[in-house]
Subunit: 402 residues, 2 copies
């Protein structure tokens, strides 16, 4: 089993239903929600409007673009209504959204439009052995842009590129995530992938570490190297996982669906489209792969399920429990996110669980710390331990864990 | 087409994909999220822990409970992996969650557990003609309880009943929603439905308006009337829609899955379960049915997509636009949720759209109001109009629209 799935299952973040199909338990759902919120903030900041399309897909819509046939799109799950009408389960949503936008785009005044969703995709992968890094059912953020001309499309495309860079930086993957040139299809020379370096990745990319760009193996030609001003000798082959991608669609779908608009000069023109994906679950799996250590998960603060893991090492008189219960209430009341472990277990077991779960700051209360009027404060990432009074704890939490 | 779908489509809240399958557009998604948040708050307040299970369902799990066969559960959508392994699309999640909880429940110390999710259900309904009140694909909040004995189960069941009453009261449906006695299955005499009175409902219930309880047609017997202390003569038959239901499952699923625990006395016992559903989309559809008027939708403040509909009636000099742009920025900066209509359309069209969309407070700026140094403030529900200065506007928004 992939390392991300192994760790996340053992730590109680996810549950495997079948290969490539994972449920999210309370800890895992909290991480997912935080990843989703970082992405949502950046999508709203560039003018994205959030919607939710459906999983059940009308066959007719996909016949319009010529992608209904299993030989064209080979990851379909299909099903049917009681009257035998065939339906597909959405693997992606270009078709459905283009058809929908015909109701909302008629004039240049209706453009541009940037529409996104967090929606469950179903992909009938033959192999699904990478944990939550490649699922048969998974949540995807997909943004679609609708522009009146190539120039405004290009401008927005660059905006998304920057937004994606901000997202991966905020999620703690910035320094190992490369904008990677990949093949572009009929309407543009390149598409761009965001590839995060990890041995667990399924892709091979060629990285120029100084220039901080990369080239996907599939487009590594002399012509492309020249285009990008990159020397073959400066490239190192690395394993990576594609955490995001952005793609110019041109008029591929607007032609098929006749998604046209009346321009300012009265002429009828097809809408220029783009699509932009990030899989929050894949991001979570990637973070589990690259930021964990031998003891378990290590969450960046911004997406940690809780900021503080509060551990009471119970004494027989109940003093520790009483003190820690009160401290827990105090911390929660002041808005800190605290996971409280007051289980009646040995200290070693509780510490091992805390290491495995990977919450950034651990606060330990024992009869010893009570006697000294301190708590023990441990940083999960650095391992640094200090004994501090309650006033200092409050101060640190205000600084760090808000 | 059902009235709720007609209104919500015309006002741009939802989009029909196929019968019973609706996408949520920006306005609709905002309403859904607010309904979801009200429910989430109440679920968390009674100790619920949020998770997300999956749509793709393992056939084996459903064979364990005997519900895989289409003759037992007649709303299955089924699909298959490339290797021909059959999968189901989740119509409900008792089976999957009971199987999952075997990993987390072993001892009385692990009980009780209250687990809930907001998850997409797929139901292959033969007819789906009630708009978003009965979908083939829809989001459901389903809560499941795991208790060690009947008494603690019963206590929690009553807690959920109260939480549900709070939810429907907060959503503006309290006065027309009845706790309705329905058949209970093998493990309890009754289950309880929350039925909201509306001519658009598919159910018939018998209502005692004074006692504020109701009886589902299916259990209306002399014995039941005696049980509930209700006289037949006091009952009025009404059409209603089931917006929620709560159900004691007893050991139906824990027996099938051998979900047992070691009790304090060392004996092995089956877990006592309950399930508790609310469909946020159905609630939204119901509100569209019962709270709209001849001009369109009328959202209760708590779930309105925005609190304020700001309408600029543009003049040629651009004074109105400049003033309203600045007012919009001011309102948004201070945290108000504002939908801004600065389209270059006739006043009548803009007012008709605003009535249709149904945002609680409308603020109109025109050259006339500018000259008088006021804005026009209109309450969507009462129709009351007043002319007020900006200071008074701020005050009202702080009071009403925060």
């Amino acid at each position: 089993m992939a390392q991300n799935a192994k760790l996340l299952i053992r730590a109680g973040f996810i549950h495997k239903e079948i290969a490539g199909v994972y449920s999210y338990l309370p800890l895992g759902l909290r991480v997912m929600e935080k990843i989703v919120n970082v992405i949502r903030e950046e999508m709203n900041a560039i003018g994205g409007q959030e919607i939710t399309l459906t999983a059940l897909q009308d066959k007719k819509v996909w016949e319009t673009s010529g992608r209904w046939d299993d030989s064209v799109l080979d990851v379909w799950f299909k099903t049917k209504l009681k009257n035998d009408t065939e339906l597909g389960l959405g693997t992606t949503h270009e078709e459905q959204l283009t058809a929908l936008m015909k109701d909302y785009i008629a004039s240049y005044r209706d453009l541009p439009r940037y529409v996104y969703q967090f929606q469950t995709k179903f992909r009938n992968e033959t192999r699904a052995k990478s944990g939550i890094m490649r699922g048969r059912e998974f949540v995807m953020k997909d943004l679609y842009s609708f522009s009146s001309d190539q120039e405004s499309h290009d401008t927005f495309y660059e905006k998304v590129k920057l937004a994606y860079s901000r997202i991966f930086a905020r999620l703690g993957l910035g320094d190992r995530t490369y904008v990677t040139f990949a093949s572009g299809g009929s309407f543009s020379k390149y598409s761009h992938e965001f590839q995060t370096l990890t041995e667990a990745g399924e892709d091979s990319i060629f990285v120029d570490e100084k220039k901080k760009i990369a080239v996907n193996k599939e487009v590594l030609t002399e012509e492309v190297l020249k285009d990008l001003g990159v020397k073959r000798a400066d490239l190192v082959e690395k394993k990576a996982v594609e955490v995001g991608n952005i793609f110019s669609l041109g008029t591929r779908f607007s032609d098929a669906f006749e998604l046209n608009f009346v321009a300012q000069d009265g002429s009828k023109k097809p809408v220029i489209m783009g699509s932009y994906g990030i899989g929050p679950g894949r991001v979570m799996g990637t973070i589990a792969e690259v930021l964990s250590d031998k003891d378990g998960l290590v969450w960046p603060e911004v997406i940690a399920p809780f900021k503080i893991h509060l551990i009471a090492l119970l004494d027989k008189e109940g003093k520790v429990q009483a003190y820690t219960d009160a401290l827990y209430q105090k911390l929660v009341t002041q808005g800190s996110e605290v996971l409280y472990d007051d289980r009646d277990l040995r200290a070693g077991e509780k510490f091992a669980d805390a290491d495995l779960i990977g919450i950034p700051y651990r606060v330990i209360v024992s009869d010893k710390t009570l006697a000294e009027k301190v708590v023990e404060f441990k940083d999960r990432k650095t391992g640094e331990v200090s004994k501090i009074g309650e006033a200092e704890l409050q101060k640190r939490l205000l600084e760090k864990a808000k």
